[in-house]
Symmetry: C2
Subunit: 141 residues, 2 copies
DNA sequence: ATCGAGATTGACGTTCACGTAAGGGGAAGG
DNA sequence: CCTTCCCCTTACGTGAACGTCAATCTCGAT
């Protein structure tokens, strides 16, 4: 959230609907849908987070690319850096690896889950604190 | 979260225990307790997030300062920028303001609460997705 | 008196996640 | 053919949040 942070950078994102109407998406399609800039998508590509096909030089995003983008953005919203997100993507991609690799992947996943649950606790604490303050404001008329 | 992000930047932080043994804290006391650097604390001070007393030139942190620091750090962990955190601190500090001000503050608080609840939804989605992947890993022996 | 540990203030450097020109290609419409 | 529009790449700039020296200062202990 650093960067050019607006007052309220996070918005609700529906669990992503399928869009069977379309077969592929342009960069501006996805930019419009997810409220990101082309620059951001190209940056994610440079960082190895996503790899759309090309028609000539133009990027063509598949449904899978679109879903992955949604996943990336949600990862960002819950506070992961792009490096961390790529790492997680890589974990997913070694699903066919050796057993020791799989064990490693599994442990990382469990760590992440614990991390996220700690974060939920932080958020709950913040929420209750804000709610108490709201009550205080309401009562002091 | 940016900056020199380690693999797992977030750690559980107990709801902060009172520490009635101490009467005040030095900068390195708080640094050790909260795992931050002196540079960070001085930076927060430059940004107006905290304002400890001085004994000569040295900073003396009170219990209130310590609690505020804990609050700041939790704010960071849930994804707020320092500017946003300071804004919230300012909101708390105008509890004696006029009615219109109070109304404004109240709306901002409610917005923030909604924001945090959206974030909780994102986190839940992420968790369930990771758990599904864990199950997949476990089952593919 | 001095010595080292820990405090201070600048001031410049760094990383992340893009923003922002600057310049150019290709298709479509008038 | 020229303009418009959308796409591309290259490259330098930027804001947030510190890191990292460097040069003091100060205070308790030897």
């Amino acid at each position: 959230m650093p960067m050019n942070a607006p007052a309220f950078p996070l918005e609700a994102l529906a669990p992503i609907d399928a869009r069977p109407d379309r077969d592929s998406f342009t960069i501006s399609d996805l930019c419009a849908e997810f409220s990101v800039t082309p620059r951001a998508l190209r940056f994610y590509e440079d960082e190895g987070l996503i790899g759309p096909e090309r028609r000539g030089t133009a990027r063509i995003y598949s449904h899978r690319d679109r879903a992955r983008l949604a996943w990336i953005l949600r990862g960002k919203r819950v506070g992961f850096s792009l490096a961390e997100i790529r790492e997680m993507i890589d974990l997913y991609d070694v699903g066919d690896g050796r057993s020791t690799q799989k064990q490693f992947t599994l442990e990382r996943c469990l760590e992440r889950i614990e991390l996220l649950e700690n974060q939920k606790r932080d958020i709950d604490a913040h929420i209750t604190e804000l709610q108490q303050f709201v009550e205080l404001l309401k009562s002091s008329d």
